[in-house]
Amino acid sequence: MIQPRPSASPVADAYVPANRLPARILGWSVVAALVVFLIWLGRELGSRLKSPTFFILRIENGWVYALGGLLVIVALLFGTAYLGKVIGERSRGRAVSYWAVLGDQLTHLIIWVIILAALYPLIFIIGTSLDPLNRLVQGSLGKPTDPLLIRSRIVPPLEGSDLSNYAALFQGVVIYGWQWVMAGVGALALLWLAVVNLRTRAFAGGLLPERLQLERRYTSILLIAAIIGFFAFLLPGQFTGSGTASRFLLWIRNTFLISGLTGIMAVILTTTAGYAMARLRFPGRFQTLMFFIFVQMFPNIVALVAIFSIIKSLDLLNTFTGLILAYSGGAIAFGTWIYKGYVESLPASLEEAALVDGTTRWGAFTRIVLPLSGPMLVFIFLLQFIGTYAEFLLANVLLSGAVNWNVGVGLRSFGVSGGTSTNTTYYGQFAAAAVLGAIPIVALFYGFQQVFVSGTVAGGVKE
């Protein structure tokens, strides 16, 4: 039984020893300085606002209505909380605190406001991607008869929506018959995987039947094989469209190729090293580990100039090989560290038994430890894959020409964020590419949510 710490008691908090007083004074003066700074900042920011323009629907005192609306909802919650209390008491048969119910309902309200604010950029980008006229980013307003949010161009109007922005990304792409078959197989596998996952939900907490586990494994393998089969042989010659936007699928292919190979490299390089660090004891082990940790401290981009010139002197500029080699160097230290920790968590007795039976160290590693570390290999692979997928700096420096770009570099070519000038002509196409480009990573994140959460939080590292 864990006892609450003494400081958790309110009495202990209220008592301030005399020698703590200066610290308190210092603390409060810091707070006072911060408040003064924030007031100054607010005034300064306020003085730099622009005057209203014709493109923005401005409602004088709109905030009063908004605040009023919010207060009405809060007032309603005071009523519904009473209802909740009564219903709760009826169903549970014990006293329910009115304030607890009210607190929960206010929490719901706050969280919904936060969710709306946090997800609005996504609503915006999906809406824009469906709008061939780019109405959300144009300097114009809707008709006065439109609903307020549509009229003010905050939410996209539904009429006139189509998929032409998406079509522009695939314009002139020649897909061979067998590639369609691959795509079809992949889609079916994905669908089946979703069905399997839904069926798995039913066993929450319980033990999964073996059949379902096998089914999930084989469907995943089929899906991965179909994706590889589809993208691996997608060649630049199949892209006959005009304009860089029509190379979108090629960028996806390039990114998959680069990220996938980098991920595999990361797994190969880190597993052997991590295993040796965890299990083998030899002079120099600790020093090597410190060397790895020390090297990891250098941010990769600091040495950008040098990496550029090394890749150039190897004649690998503008090749995927060069980019993959450059990425692989950065992946090693962290992956080795996590894998070392993972192997240490496995019982050593398994390997010892195998070694007594005459297996070599290498045999113990490949036949006992590796098969046991499936989830960890997936985590190392995914971390590297996702990190590389979103990378654009090295790619920007090392790759040139629309045929070789990855997604990150390609997205910048729409002129949306290229320079300081504003160019909204291709914003719709950009939005479509952004939506499609984000889908693989969002899917991976949600598919492996648990792996990510435990892995990244434990590692204390944000990718």
Binding site: L57, D104, L119, F124, L269, T272, F298, F445
Partner: protein, 469 residues
């Protein structure tokens, strides 16, 4: 016939000598292998240096080296069986040395040179001399050409000036390097003989990369008032405040969502997780133009509904900083929220029950139990977030590109540039004029600061202690 052989040693020599022997052996093997690779490549390059021949790519050294290395390693492990321990580490060490350590060493070297787009050790195409071949060591200038002015030589004879000759047939081939012995009366004498078949038509000057001591650093510190100090101050302010803002937002949301009675809390968590799942390279670009444009951006349109006036998100130096913090909050809060939730799931429930029995209010429970329990889990997270944001190049570059421009500041170090983006601008944008040497000097300053932060960070996280296990 019996052969008496000394049994190979199974155990490594104790102490530092074992490490020393291992490192020397492995480095020796690598040196031999890649040396052979280099030599074979040179021979091949000589063979294929003929009309219609092709250029041997430099990466062949790597492939050949790897092919030679494997039998060498097998032989070595026969002699010293304990070396096999090191073979597990070898792939990782080779890659680290080649693509992490070597670039760092090179960066340190570049920091003391005048390496730039102009002084690159390659053909300077702004200098050119049309020539025809006289003999294997002599080239004839076009009539009326002046070698000294065309090649910008210091002395009239251009003695010792390094030059390069672009391939007359194939522009993609590497220019052939050479140097001038003398120029006399329209005839250039070269220091090394050209192949018989090779007929150059043009000569470019080569500006070598020269060692210039601490000039890059003294230049940076001389101009520190308009670049280093303001950029450093903003880097620290940005990293500290974005970490604080994100941590507070994540804590508040995490604590709200940790309420076990709350219905749909998993749905909320899944929805709020979304910004983390979208690659930042995509979401920052969405924010930049669609949401933060002054006249047509969605944020200002939304603000207009509440009676607000347009905010110059990217045109004002102060608002641009607010914009950066805002976007980074959006990018980072799901991570902090998730970290809070998983740290809180480790807090035993009976702690709260005991507090409730003692009559502690909800607020007292948060300050007395939740926050102290979170402290241990959050220390490494906060520190690594700070270190990450200290070098958060992607955000700054994609959102503001360091802008807006400020009077009196260098074009490479604008109002929202952080140290790392300042270094990048110096090397890779038009404003910096490809000044690789100064950029490397900046990189070293960044690296020193980052290592300081990391050492502090790893100490707090107990990495060093864990390594010793």
């Amino acid at each position: 016939m019996t052969v008496v052989r000394r049994a190979p040693r199974q155990a490594p020599p104790a102490g530092p000598s074992g490490v020393f022997i291992a490192i020397v052996t492995i480095l020796g093997l690598c040196a031999v292998a890649f040396g052979v690779g280099w030599a074979v490549t040179q021979v091949l390059a000589g063979i294929f240096d003929r009309p219609g021949g092709f250029q041997i790519p430099a990466y062949l050294i790597l492939i050949l080296g790897a092919i030679v290395l494997i039998p060498l390693m097998v032989t070595a492990v026969r002699l010293l069986p304990w070396l096999v321990n090191w073979y597990y580490l070898l792939p990782a060490i080779v890659f680290l040395l080649a693509f992490t350590v070597y670039p760092i060493v090179l960066t340190v070297g570049y920091a003391f040179t005048n390496y730039s787009g102009l002084n690159s050790g390659e053909s300077d195409t702004s200098t050119r001399l049309e020539v025809t071949k006289l003999s294997r060591v002599q080239l004839k200038l076009a009539a009326g050409a002046n070698a000294q002015t065309e090649l910008r030589c210091d002395v009239p004879t251009c003695a010792g000036v390094p030059i390069a000759m672009p391939d007359p047939q194939d522009a993609k081939k590497k220019p052939r390097a050479n140097s001038i012995v003398s120029v006399e009366g329209g005839v250039i004498t070269l220091s090394s003989a050209l192949p018989e078949f090779y007929k150059p038509i043009q000569v470019n000057r080569v500006n070598p990369i020269a060692f210039i001591g601490f000039a890059n650093f003294s230049d940076i510190f001389a101009k520190a008032g308009v670049q280093l100090w303001p950029v450093l101050v903003w880097t620290v302010i940005f990293a500290v405040s974005t970490t604080l803002i994100n941590v507070v937002a994540g804590l508040v949301l995490g604590i709200l969502l940790n309420n076990k009675r709350l219905k749909f809390r998993n749905v909320y968590r899944t929805l709020l997780f979304l910004p983390w799942a979208i690659p930042a390279v995509i979401s920052v670009q969405i924010w930049k133009e669609g949401l933060m444009a002054t006249n047509t951006g969605a944020l200002n349109r939304l603000g207009g509904l509440f009676g607000g006036v347009p905010i110059p998100w990217r045109d004002d130096e102060l608002w641009a900083k607010v914009a950066i913090l805002l976007v980074n909050l959006w990018l980072g809060f799901p991570y902090m929220m998730t970290a809070t939730l998983s740290a809180l799931s480790a807090v035993p429930e009976d702690l709260y029950e005991a507090a409730e029995v003692d009559g502690a209010s909800k607020w007292q429970q948060v300050t007395g139990i939740t926050l102290p329990m979170l402290q241990a889990a959050f220390t490494p997270i906060v520190l690594s977030t700070f270190a990450f944001n200290f070098n958060n190049f992607g955000l700054i570059y994609l959102l503001t590109q360091g802008g807006p421009q400020l009077e009196g500041r260098l074009a490479t170090a604008q109002s929202t540039d952080i140290l790392i983006s300042w270094g990048y601008n110096t090397a890779f944008t038009a404003a910096g004029n490809a000044a690789y040497g100064p950029a490397s000097a900046i990189a070293i300053i960044v690296a020193v600061l980052t290592i300081g932060i990391s050492i502090f960070n790893f100490r707090a996280a107990g990495v060093f202690k864990e390594a010793q296990k």
